[in-house]
Amino acid sequence: MSWRQTKDAPFFVGYLNAVPKPLVTFLAVFSLCFAGGLGLAALALSSTQNDPGNGGFQWGNRFEHVGLLELRPYPVLRVPADGDTPARTYMLAGQGKRGVFEQAEANKGSPVSLRGVPVNRGDLTMIQVGGVEAAEARFEGGFPSDAVPLGRWKLTGEICDGKCYAGAMRPGRGLAHKACANLCLTGGIPPVFVSSGDVKGRNFFLMADSDGKLLGDELKPLLALYIEVEGDVEQLDDLMVFKADLSTARVLK
């Protein structure tokens, strides 16, 4: 059996403007299916995006507080109790994909007034620092308090960069975001562990290594994956710190 051209078959020659009638109909139908199909695919793909959560910059709610900058081991601002509000500890990030280690080193141990914009998602708040100035202040009443150890935990979840996950990018998590998160952490943004179970009602943690020191490249292969890892949890005011023992980490999926 072989195919052969026939005298009556419509024959299209691109540079002739006249297109045989049966072909015009066929091509018109094809064009409609092509455009319509693309439109439908776009609607299906776009309308079923996964929920990136409720994180975001709180532009209307500027942050300005006096407190102490500490490295735990990432920069945090500790704000004393004020009337009914208990003492709080805020994670800090710089503009873009930068940390605030320089400011924290420069002002370590002395009171500062810190301005910035909160990035917030549920209980997780990170401050994008705008400016840090030395402040006149006296702290009393046992401030700042020591970290309270909460024992050893095995947690499952994802290591994210704290700023994107808090809502600087939506969605700021997941494998597609891995390279971006790597870049954030390299720039000095604190990593957070987003756990699927909670410890005392909290399910995100500022991360440190098992000695409470800075994490480095050993984090990279685990970032943005669903993992299980053991470590000690301690509480700094309202912030949980997870001293993860990465040698126990296991990728679950």
Binding site: M1, S2, W3, R4, Q5, T6, K7, D8, A9, F11, F12, V13, G14, Y15, N17, V19, L23, F26, L27, F30, S31, F34, A35, L38, G39, A41, A42, L43, A44, L45, S46, S47, T48, Q49, N50, D51, P52, G53, G56, Q95, G96, K97, R98, G167, R170, G174, A176, A179, C180, N182, L183, C184, T186, G187, K220, P221, A224, L225, V251, K253
Partner: protein, 355 residues
């Protein structure tokens, strides 16, 4: 068949083709970016830059899928042939859309950092040893580079500059690009939280592209086997029985397969017969599936033309293809399987009558 290379020679068909393409792409992007989000069920919308990046990425992927289906579809049903005519514009547009996708990625995921964007793209994730968390961007980069090279060399100038075999081989890399894109999404977007629709679409694309190529491959193989009679029937003096006069429609051809890469088209016109190679000098289009228009063989792909008696394109064009000698015994056509040098004049066989 152009003596002089114009950037693009426009005519109504090309304009309509490109218009349909542009409208479909614009519709896709508009629906994805503007209409779709209104139907999303999310606490807060995803970032605009990410939405646009996904819109352009998935658009390029779907366009690539359609491009790769046009070839086999045109083999299965000749009515798809006109889609092949302007396919290069389709390819160039796909490369542009993919480049926009990559640009959004650079300007969002790899921006706002002390590290240079391009350095960040290549250095942020280097976990090449793991499957989960593999730097899937690398496959995207490879695919984009291929698409850009193919787009840049798509013009006929490059075809004649590089020569058809090299140009063809180069453009076969479109399949490598497709494979890279599939890996790019399989190791990236598809590993994220379950997205059944995108997963189904990617799977459908892979099945469609490979399925159509498989089916047409089988079909061509079967056709060639049917033609083996011609090979097997080598007669004394080396003539091959090419078939019967009545098998061929007027102004049309019959294709005889001599070997895997040698096919001969025997044309019937004005009570005469002429034989030429089946491969067009332009892009190896199947001349035997063309027709005789104004006394010239006309290729079904892009309409290149050749004189029947000597296989030379009419002046001022200079393409030449091989011719073959024929003999008629009764109504049986005999073919001399030895190709003559391109452009050799052979007197057509006259069989009288204009049937």
């Amino acid at each position: 068949m152009s003596v002089q290379y114009m950037p693009v020679i426009w005519n109504r068909n090309k304009i309509v083709y490109d218009a349909v393409l542009l409208i479909a792409v614009a519709l896709y992007l508009y629906v994805y970016i503007r209409v779709g989000p209104a139907f999303e069920d999310v606490t807060r919308p995803i970032d605009g830059a990410i939405l646009r990046m996904r819109a352009f990425g998935s658009c390029a992927f779907l366009m690539l899928t359609v491009i790769l289906c046009i070839g086999p579809l045109a083999r299965l049903d000749r009515r798809f042939l006109p889609l092949l005519y302007n396919r290069r514009h389709f390819g160039v547009m796909t490369a542009v859309i993919a480049a926009v996708h990559a640009n959004y990625v650079l300007g969002w995921y790899f921006n706002f950092s002390p590290t240079d964007q391009y350095v960040a793209l290549l250095s942020s994730n280097t976990n090449y040893g793991q499957i989960l968390g593999f730097p899937f961007e690398a496959f995207g980069i490879a695919a984009l580079l291929i698409l850009l090279v193919l787009a840049a060399t798509s013009h006929d100038f490059w075809l004649s500059f590089l020569g058809a075999p090299i140009w063809k081989a180069l453009h076969m890399f479109i399949y490598a690009a497709y494979a890279c894109v599939v890996l790019h999404v399989a190791l990236g977007a598809l590993q994220g939280p379950g997205d059944p629709i995108f997963t189904a679409l990617v799977a459908a694309s892979v099945v469609l592209v490979s399925g159509l190529h498989f089916v047409t491959g089988r079909m061509e193989a079967k056709r060639d086997r049917g033609e083996q009679t011609a090979q097997a029937s080598l007669q004394e003096q080396g003539w091959v029985i090419a078939g019967d006069l009545d098998e061929i429609d007027d102004t049309c051809a019959k294709v005889v397969t001599l070997s895997d890469d040698e096919r001969v088209a025997i044309f019937k016109y004005d009570g005469k017969l002429s034989a030429i190679t089946n491969a067009c000098a332009h892009q190896n289009g199947p001349l035997g599936e063309g027709k005789v228009l104004w006394g010239c063989i006309t290729c079904p792909w892009h309409g290149y033309q050749y004189n029947l008696a000597d296989g030379r394109a009419p002046a001022p064009f200079t393409e030449k293809i091989s011719t073959y000698r024929l003999k008629l015994v009764g109504s049986t056509i005999l073919l001399d399987p030895n190709a003559l040098p391109p452009g050799t004049h052979v007197n057509p066989i006259e069989f009288g009558g204009d049937s």
